[in-house]
Structure formats: structure tokens, C-alpha cells
Amino acid sequence: MEGFTVALLIWTLVSPSSSSNSKAWPTHTVCREGNLEVFYQSCDPLQDFGFSADQCSKHLKPKLNIRFGMILREDIKELFLDIALFTKGSSILNFSYPICEEDLPKFSFCGRRKGEQIYYAGPINNPGFEIFEGEYQVLLELYNENRSTVACANATVICS
């Protein structure tokens, strides 16, 4: 019986653990300035992506400039963004916003194809607002007209 235990132990150590397939992507920092810290992690099991914002403060300016780089795994003739904001486990805000539509491609990258690598450095059409003190979880999801995920991010905003 002892032999069996040893063998089982060796097996669990040697055999590829199933959890290694679903290893999480690293957490990246969008910014850490003054009393605001923003982190994100890709929740698309297939890939990571890069994102940063030019300015980071409690008083968020309208028309922020951002940078992002990623590989498209879907066509983005139509692209939608869902945002869900939580604090202390309760939901505060949910909304959905069209980024690319057939009759209104808002950004120059609209209409690019599956497999293309895109890099965007430019403004987004956000309103200016004040971030209140606290810790927030933000779930962002980009998807196309077939509801296929284009990008997914779990972000944490800590404002002190």
C-alpha cells in the first residue's frame, strides 16, 4: 500500500496538471499615479492584450488618450463594449456601447479582419468624471455581431 501512495504522489507530481492549461494571464498596470491605481488582467483564455492610458487621476478628463495592442481573433465590422462596475461585490453600473457599427464605424480600426494585429493610439469618447474613494472591480468585454469575444478584461481600480 505504501508503494501505491508513493506512486500516486509521483504521478500527481509528474503528470501535467490540468490547471496549467487554464493558467491566468499576468496582471498589468494601466497606471499608478498619486492616489489612483488601475490594474487589468485579460480574461480571454486565448490571449493577452496591451493597454495603457495617458493620464491617470481621480478627476478623469473627457476624451482620454489610450493605447492598445492586440491580435484580432474575429472580424470587427461590428464591435460592442459591455462594462460592468462592481464595488464590494455589488453591482453599481452596467452598460453597453457600440464602437463599430455597419452604418457608423466610429473608429479607424473598424472593419479590420480576423488575424490582424492592431495598435491604436488615440482618443476615446469618454465623459469626464470624478472617481470616488474606494476599490472597484470593472469587467470589460468587447465582442462582435456574433457575440464572439474579441477582448475581455478584469480590471481593478483603487482610489484612495
Binding site: 508503494g3 506512486a7 491580435i71 479607424s108 479582419r113 480576423k114 494585429q117
Partner: protein
């Protein structure tokens, strides 16, 4: 040592079985048996043996094939569509597709191509679509041109192409779509354009190229299906350069992230020198907008001024009498009358969707648009207390009206009397108020499609849908019915032509057996996301060959008399119901397994009861509902005991009898 060895054997077997599972995870997914397969994101270095030779459509993106050569796909000679997106392909060697005579589409998007051999695309008899997007091409001579005579679309976006000059003898004649998006083309010369001269009705896409100059005459007397110059920084250069050209559509829109100049009216003078049917100018701003701006728009049939910061269209625009379609979405009008509709008497199609301000519906603002057939006023915060005859005055030819996603509208009887020819009416997500039992849709004899989802209707008003004798498609999703029940005398009674009925998310608990009795033509009934039980199926007993969606309801047991009703339908969805998998439901389960092809969503059609079978697919359930083995055992024991007792009793009786003799 022996037990230890056997333990190791056991362990090896365990890990082997584990491996088998992981490798089966790496399998391609079958979308259509023997024909269509998706093998994306599997890190494959070759075509797996599991793919049948008959594969026609293969999505093979995001794998690893540094070299593709004639052995790579040699087995799959029936291929019609081959997607090799981002497979890290460096080399496409000679005769790769030599035996693929049927191949019609090759996608090579996102591969770092170093070289394509002269004969690398030879073989296909009718190669029609070639995607070379983001493959690092800087020179059009890179593309092997020996087998491109039948090419209809060539996608060359996101490369480093600076000149569109094709090599001599490049077969252009059948090309319909030529896509140069996001390249570095700054100059278009006559010589460049002349290489495209053989193509007729070409759609050319130059979006995301910063065109700085066009040689005068470069587009002279050329005919295009569409021309796109989206995101161009200098629109006047383009409008000047397109002199004497003919194109069906011209896309000159801008984007949030392009720093374009404000447009002035004189920039459009170039339009007088060309022939265009449709123009898109989205996200621009015309600084000196006046009626003179549109001086050269006289031939135009379609104009799109989406997101133009417009507060008003100038009154008295002359010469836009030919305009058929006008798109004014995402602007800043206060009142509908500010578009001065009288300037566009031929308009058949008007869209003012997503207005950034609360749009006042006004009165008779569109009355001069006698030919209007399609009107979209959705997402514009329209509110009206007495809708819609005054507002839609004189729109006699209107066939399609979209007022969805607006603020509350108060409707009275015959609310759409001014548009008697309506065929489609969309009021989804707009609250509808009515004072008393009105019939707002009366006289819409031609109405075929009516969307009233999430309108907060008063469904107890039996006259609500009166007069819709031609209605074929009705969406009542998200409305509530009194007591959660549809009665014998519900508002649906009058809709004898109805074919499609959507009653999902209506919080329904029951449907009367006779509720749909007068709806004999229905072929699509969606009752999903309610709390209906199996007995509601009785209401469909008079229907045959329908699509029935009862997903996400409260169906436990389907009594066997109702199986007849189900068996006469075409397609049924019973997924996400708390189905009972005990012997009480044995007739249904047996019938379900015999009729699996009828069912949609069978992956999600699972048992909820008994607890041991919770989550098991109904198609996998095996029930034995005769007498069980234990039952038989007890029965045998019981009979045995009874026999023994009987024997003893008889013995005792005989003994007692004889004792007395």
C-alpha cells in the same frame, strides 16, 4: 515489489487515459459532417489524420505552419475554402495547391510571408478570393499572378504598399473588390490607375491611407461600383482628383481618431464634375453650411450625414430634388421640422436615428415627403402625448416605420390613420399609453410585422390589436398578462393570419386550451422564458409542423396525451426546463429519445429530478419502469411463503378432519 509494480502499472494506465483525454481536447470541431471543420487555436503543425478526405471548408487559423508545400494539404483535395490566418507561414512553396481544383478562397491574413513561389497558387480552377491582409507585402510584384484570372476579390489591407501599380499582365479583368485599407498610399497617378483599366464595376477601398495628391485625370472616365477614402485628411484633394469619374457610391467619412479639417462648401465643387449616386460624409463638420453647400449634389440619390453636429439643415436647398435616401443619424436636432424636409420631395427613405437631443416630433414636419416609404426615428428620445396622426401627416406611402427605443407615446384609436400602407411597424422598448380600450392599429390592413416588445402594453384591452387582419408576425416579448395567463378571449383572437408569435419573457403561468384556436396559420411560436407547465402544450393541439420554443419554462412532466400534439410539430426546444426523469415521465422520455432530430438545444435539455440524475442529458437517461429485480425477489419470497402456509393449513385441516372420523 510485485504490488509496487502493479501500482506503477496502474499509474501508467491512469496517466495514459489522461493523455487520451487531453489529446481529444485538441480535436477539430465538426460543423457539418464530412464537410466543414474548425481547427483554430490548436497549435497544430500539420493537418490532423482525423480530418476526412472529403473536407471542403477548413478553418485552420492560429496554428503553426512555417512552410506550406504540396504535401501539406495534399490529402484534402476537395477543399473549397481554406483559412490559414496567422499560422506563422513564412514560405508558400511550389505547387502547394496543385491538386486542389475546387479551391475558391485562400486566406493568408497575418502571416509573415517571406516568399511565395511562382506556381504556389497554381491548381485551383476557379480561385476567386485571395486574402493577403497584413502579410508584410510592400510590392505588388510579390503576388504570384499565374493563376489569378478568375480572381474576384483581392485583399491587401494593412501592408506597406505605397503604389497601386500592378505589374504588366496582372489579370485584373474579373476583379470586383480591391482592398488597399491601411497602407501607405499617398499618391495616385494616372499610370497607377491605368493598370486597373480592364476591371469593370470595381470596388476600391483606400480607407486609412493618407492620400496627399491625385494626378489630374487619374480617374478620368473610369467607372466604379464604390470608392472609399475614409479617414482622409484632405478631402478637397480627393474631390478634385476624382474629376470625370463615375461611381455608384463614394465613402468619404471620418473617424473619432482622425484629425481632419473642417469642411467648407467650396470643397464640394468637385462633385459637379463627377457622377455619384451615393455619398457618405460621416463625422465631418461643415463650417459654413448653407443651402449653397449642396450646389453640386443635384445628381445625388443617397446622402449620409451621420454625426455631423447638425442642429438644422439649411432651408431652401435647391436642386436636391432627386435625393431618394437621407441619413441624419446621431445629430443634434431639437425639432423634426428643422430638417426642412420640403427640400427633398423625392425622398423614399429617411433615417434620424440616435439623435443626441430630445427630438420634438413636431406637427406635419414631413408632410411634403409624399413618396416616403421608410422612416427610422428610433433611439431619439421622442415623446408624444397624442400620437401619431398629426406628426406623420400626409405620409400616405409609408411602408416601414421605426419608433423603437423612444420615450412614452400616447396612442388613440386609429393612431396611424395617416399611413394606411404600413407593412412594418417597430415600437419595441417604447412605452405605449392608451386611455381606455383603444384600437390604435385599426385600419392598418396591410401591416405584416408588428414589434411591441417591452411596450408595457395593457394586454387586458381586447381591442388593442383589432383591425390587423393581415398581420403575420407579432412580437409581444416582455409584456405582462393578467394573472399570468392567456385566456380564451385574449387580444390575440382577431389575428387570423398570424404566422409568427413571440410571447417570450411575459411571466406566463398558463395558456388556455382554446387561446390560440382562431390562429390556424401559425408556424413559429416562441413561449420561452416564462413559467409555463407541460399542460400549456394543449393550446397548440390544432397546429401542425410548427417551430415551438418552450425553453426556460417550468415544465416537469409532459402527460402522454400531449405527446400527440408535440409529435405533429417540426422543431421543438425544451431546453432549460426542470424536467422530471422518473417513471412518472417515462412515456415522454421514451418518445423524446425516438424523436431526437425534432429537438433543438438537446445539449441543454437535462433532468432536474430525481437528484441522482440532475444535469444528465435527457437523451442519455435510461429508465426501467417495469418490476425491478428486487420487486421480483420479494414477490417470489411472498409466493413461496404463501404456498408453505397453504400446505401447512391443508395438512392441519386434513389431520383435524381425519381425527374426527
Amino acid at each position: 515489489m510485485a504490488p509496487c509494480a502493479s501500482c506503477f502499472l496502474l499509474v501508467v494506465m491512469f496517466s495514459a487515459s489522461c493523455k487520451a483525454i487531453t489529446s481529444s481536447d485538441q480535436m477539430c470541431t465538426e460543423k457539418e459532417a464530412n464537410k466543414t471543420y474548425n481547427c483554430e487555436n490548436l497549435g497544430l503543425t500539420e493537418v490532423p489524420d482525423t480530418l476526412p478526405n472529403t473536407t471542403e471548408f477548413l478553418e485552420f487559423g492560429f496554428n503553426f505552419l512555417p512552410t506550406v508545400e504540396n504535401t501539406t494539404f495534399s490529402r484534402l483535395i476537395d477543399l473549397i475554402f481554406l483559412d490559414l490566418t496567422r499560422c506563422q507561414i513564412n514560405w508558400v512553396h511550389e505547387d502547394t495547391f496543385q491538386n486542389h481544383h475546387q479551391l475558391n478562397t485562400i486566406v493568408l491574413t497575418g502571416n509573415p510571408l517571406i516568399f511565395m513561389a511562382e506556381t504556389s497558387l497554381n491548381g485551383p480552377k476557379l480561385l476567386k478570393h485571395l486574402f493577403l491582409t497584413q502579410t508584410g507585402i510592400s510590392n505588388l510584384g510579390f503576388i504570384p499572378m499565374h493563376n489569378l484570372e478568375n480572381l474576384e476579390s483581392l485583399h491587401l489591407g494593412s501592408n506597406y504598399i505605397s503604389s497601386i501599380k500592378f505589374p504588366e499582365n496582372f489579370p485584373i479583368q474579373n476583379l470586383k473588390v480591391l482592398d488597399f485599407q491601411n497602407n501607405v498610399i499617398h499618391y495616385l497617378s494616372s499610370e497607377d490607375m491605368n493598370t486597373l483599366k480592364q476591371a469593370t464595376n470595381l470596388s476600391l477601398n483606400f480607407n486609412g491611407n493618407d492620400i496627399k495628391d491625385i494626378e489630374p485625370g487619374a480617374f478620368h472616365s473610369k467607372i466604379f461600383q464604390s470608392l472609399k477614402f475614409g479617414g482622409s485628411l484632405n478631402l478637397s484633394v480627393i474631390l478634385k482628383g476624382l474629376q470625370n469619374t463615375t461611381t455608384k457610391s463614394l465613402w468619404l467619412g471620418s473617424y473619432e481618431d482622425t484629425d481632419d479639417q473642417d469642411l467648407t462648401s467650396d470643397m464640394f465643387d468637385g462633385l459637379c464634375e463627377m457622377s455619384v449616386e451615393s455619398i457618405n460624409l460621416q463625422k465631418h463638420y461643415i463650417s459654413d453650411l448653407s443651402s449653397a453647400t449642396f450646389r453640386c449634389f443635384t445628381q445625388l440619390q443617397e446622402l449620409d450625414l451621420t454625426a455631423h453636429h447638425l442642429r438644422e439643415l439649411p432651408p431652401g436647398i435647391q436642386g436636391m430634388k432627386a435625393l431618394k435616401k437621407l441619413v441624419l443619424n446621431v445629430n443634434r436636432f431639437d425639432e423634426l421640422c428643422q430638417i426642412h424636409a420640403a427640400s427633398f420631395p423625392s425622398l423614399t427613405d429617411l433615417s434620424i436615428k440616435g439623435n443626441m437631443k430630445k427630438l420634438d416630433f413636431g406637427a406635419g414636419c414631413l408632410e411634403k415627403l409624399e413618396n416616403l416609404q421608410k422612416l427610422d426615428l428610433s433611439h431619439s428620445d421622442i415623446e408624444a402625448s397624442d400620437c401619431c396622426n398629426l406628426q406623420l401627416k400626409n405620409l400616405r406611402h409609408l411602408q416601414y416605420l421605426n419608433l423603437s427605443y423612444n420615450e412614452p407615446l400616447t396612442l388613440q384609436s386609429q393612431a396611424f390613420k395617416e399611413c394606411p400602407r404600413l407593412e412594418g411597424l417597430d415600437l419595441a422598448f417604447t412605452r405605449l399609453h392608451m386611455k381606455g380600450p383603444q384600437s390604435p392599429f385599426q385600419n392598418l390592413h396591410l401591416l405584416q410585422v408588428l414589434n411591441l416588445s417591452y411596450c408595457h402594453l395593457d394586454t387586458s384591452n381586447q381591442h388593442l390589436l383589432e383591425g390587423l387582419e393581415g398581420l403575420r408576425h407579432l412580437n409581444l416579448q416582455g409584456n405582462h398578462f393578467q394573472d399570468g395567463s392567456i385566456s380564451k378571449t385574449s387580444l390575440l383572437q382577431t389575428l387570423s393570419s398570424l404566422e409568427i408569435l413571440i410571447l417570450s419573457s411575459c411571466d406566463l403561468l398558463s395558456i388556455d386550451k382554446q387561446a390560440f384556436q382562431s390562429l390556424g396559420k401559425m408556424n413559429h411560436v416562441d413561449l420561452s422564458y416564462n413559467s409555463l407547465t407541460g399542460n400549456s402544450i394543449d393550446a397548440l393541439s390544432h397546429l401542425r409542423g410548427i417551430y415551438l420554443n418552450m425553453a426556460a419554462n417550468n415544465i416537469h412532466i409532459i402527460p402522454s396525451p400531449l405527446l400527440l400534439t408535440l409529435s405533429q410539430q417540426n422543431t421543438i426546444n425544451l431546453s432549460h426546463n426542470p424536467l422530471d426523469c422518473t417513471c412518472l415521465n417515462i412515456h415522454f422520455i421514451t418518445w423524446y429519445k425516438e424523436n431526437l432530430q425534432k429537438f433543438e438545444g438537446s445539449e441543454e435539455t437535462v433532468c432536474a429530478n430525481p437528484p441522482t440524475l440532475r444535469g444528465v442529458k435527457l437523451s442519455d437517461v435510461k429508465l426501467y419502469c417495469g418490476i425491478t429485480a428486487v420487486g421480483i425477489f420479494f414477490l417470489v419470497v411472498f409466493l413461496f411463503l404463501v404456498t408453505v402456509l397453504l400446505i401447512f393449513f391443508i395438512k392441519f385441516l386434513l389431520r383435524w378432519k381425519y381425527q374426527h372420523i
